[in-house]
């Protein structure tokens, strides 16, 4: 039994629905960028996309492969130096939502995008922090997107790149971090949110056809599950069509060879 949409499409649609019109969103490449642009082309036409390369209010027609594709600059209201993005926009509290991904997440939403294994002699060296630690600190809230498996949802991170709720129980607020931290975690199985008491991630919604036991098995700790579990509505025909068109345009653009001068 396979659904007429992919897991990636379901995740992207679920993430897009969380964004609202006129929300100021700090976007990363990949799925978050697809989600933000889907939202902009559906229910949130006034969504403001800010990319860390310095583009303010980009309105791309194809998704960028990199965080600094020309399309982002050409369709932006303004392009500013990179130090300003982090100082005047992020640190000063002008970002409503920041999207983050990671290779590992723990029960308090802390994230690892640096290394698997020992930092000095890693089994797998990952790209590293980029903008993530300060997005995690300063965005009013963050949405985390990653696929759920016991390898990714771990009891103890190999390295903490970006803070979520730290040790839970209000430790983030006591640290002085201005943002409210990871308010939603979207996986390929469902949606988790921090519990109001301990701030531990709790399964609150499932995607269609997924059971709570499947999610438990794909989690490396004893997962908290809400008493009342919602089912996330599957992608609508419109959502799927717009997203697939966006991806098709993007694929064609990225594969198009550049004509060299010689």
């Amino acid at each position: 039994m396979s659904a007429p949409w992919t897991q990636d499409e379901m995740m992207t649609v679920a993430a897009a629905r969380l964004l609202w019109d006129r929300c100021v969103c700090f976007v990363g490449i990949g799925l978050p960028s697809a989600a933000a642009n889907l939202a902009r082309q559906t229910h949130a036409p006034g969504l403001v996309l800010i990319y860390e390369s310095g583009t303010l209010e980009s309105k791309p027609t194809v998704l960028p492969l990199s965080i600094g594709d020309g399309e982002l600059a050409a369709t932006a209201t303004s392009v500013i130096p990179l130090p300003e993005i982090f100082a005047y926009w992020l640190q000063s509290g002008r970002i409503d939502v920041g999207f983050l991904g990671a290779a590992q997440i723990d029960r308090f939403g802390n994230l690892n995008s640096t290394a698997i294994g020992n930092y000095q002699r890693p089994k797998t060296r990952l790209p590293g922090a980029g903008g993530a630690p300060e997005i995690a600190t300063h965005a009013h809230q963050t949405f985390v997107v990653l696929k759920q498996s016991a390898r990714a949802f771990v009891p103890l991170l190999d390295f903490c790149t970006s803070a979520g709720f730290m040790d839970g129980h209000g430790s983030r607020a006591r640290s002085g971090a201005p943002g409210r931290g990871p308010q939603v975690v979207i996986t390929d199985l469902g949606v988790l949110k921090p519990a109001t008491d301990t701030e531990e991630l709790e399964l609150v919604s499932l995607f269609e056809g997924i059971s709570a036991d499947q999610v438990r098995q794909a989690t490396g700790w004893k997962l908290r599950v809400a008493e009342q579990l919602d089912i996330v509505a599957p992608p609508s025909t419109d959502e799927l069509q717009i997203l697939r068109d966006l991806h098709a345009r993007t694929r064609a653009a990225h594969e198009r060879p550049i004509a060299l001068p010689f």
Binding site: S53, L65, S66, G128, M166, I258, L260
Partner: protein, 283 residues
Amino acid sequence: MFLTLHDAIAQHVEDGQSLAMEGFTHLIPFAAGHEIIRQGRQDLHLIRMTPDLIYDQMIGAGCARALTFSWGGNPGVGSLHRLRDAVEKDWPRPLELHEHSHAGLAVAYTAGASNLPFGMLRGYLGTDLPSVNPQIRRVTCPYTGEELATVPALHPDVTILHAQKADRRGNVLLHGIVGAGKEAAMAAKTLLVTVEEVVEDLEAAPNAVILPHWVVTAIAQVPWGAYPSYAQGCYERDNAFYLAWDEIARERGTFTAWLDRHVRGTQDHEGFLRSLAHTVEAP
């Protein structure tokens, strides 16, 4: 002021120096990086927010002993395999890491450009980065008592940028995504710039990003000098090349063969571009 790229690198880049080649996805000085590989520079301390393919190539070619950086992936594609091989397996030589976040490196460049000892930010909160980079420290605000993160100022021996235009006096204009290019330029002891074209008049708006001629050490005209990254208004980013790089760089053998054929085996950037155009298989 105006030199060939060969002479600019030969005269101004020495073994063992700290070298920042900036350009955030856009205007990455690939031609200059390739020339450094051709001239066999070694023991460089490379600095870049996003090492990108250019430092993947220079690290794999054995040019680097250390890397200061904040995000080391192939954007939208995955790993930088040569960077990974150096960190995980010491190939072709061990690489010392000085790792930051983007926000941290941005203030480090700004502090360098401002001739301050350190940059300051509300950052590195709850992350393990300070435990592996002892240069990330904290200071107490004398006005509020707040604890703030600090990073030492960056003062690269040499910064290299690529830009769209220079005029005949040596004023340099860059536009589009400028990244931390201006800060890296103003923080450097020596500033080399490659440009797409040299014009009589920059025709720049008063607030354009201009590096005035007296802060620029040398300029080399290198059309397509940022390829396979891009120069806004001149040519687009070759995303297909970035996708293809994943396979080329994955194994030491395919990487070295690519480097020998297209970089070490060519005279200059025009030769590099011609060698790619004549490649029948994927670039």
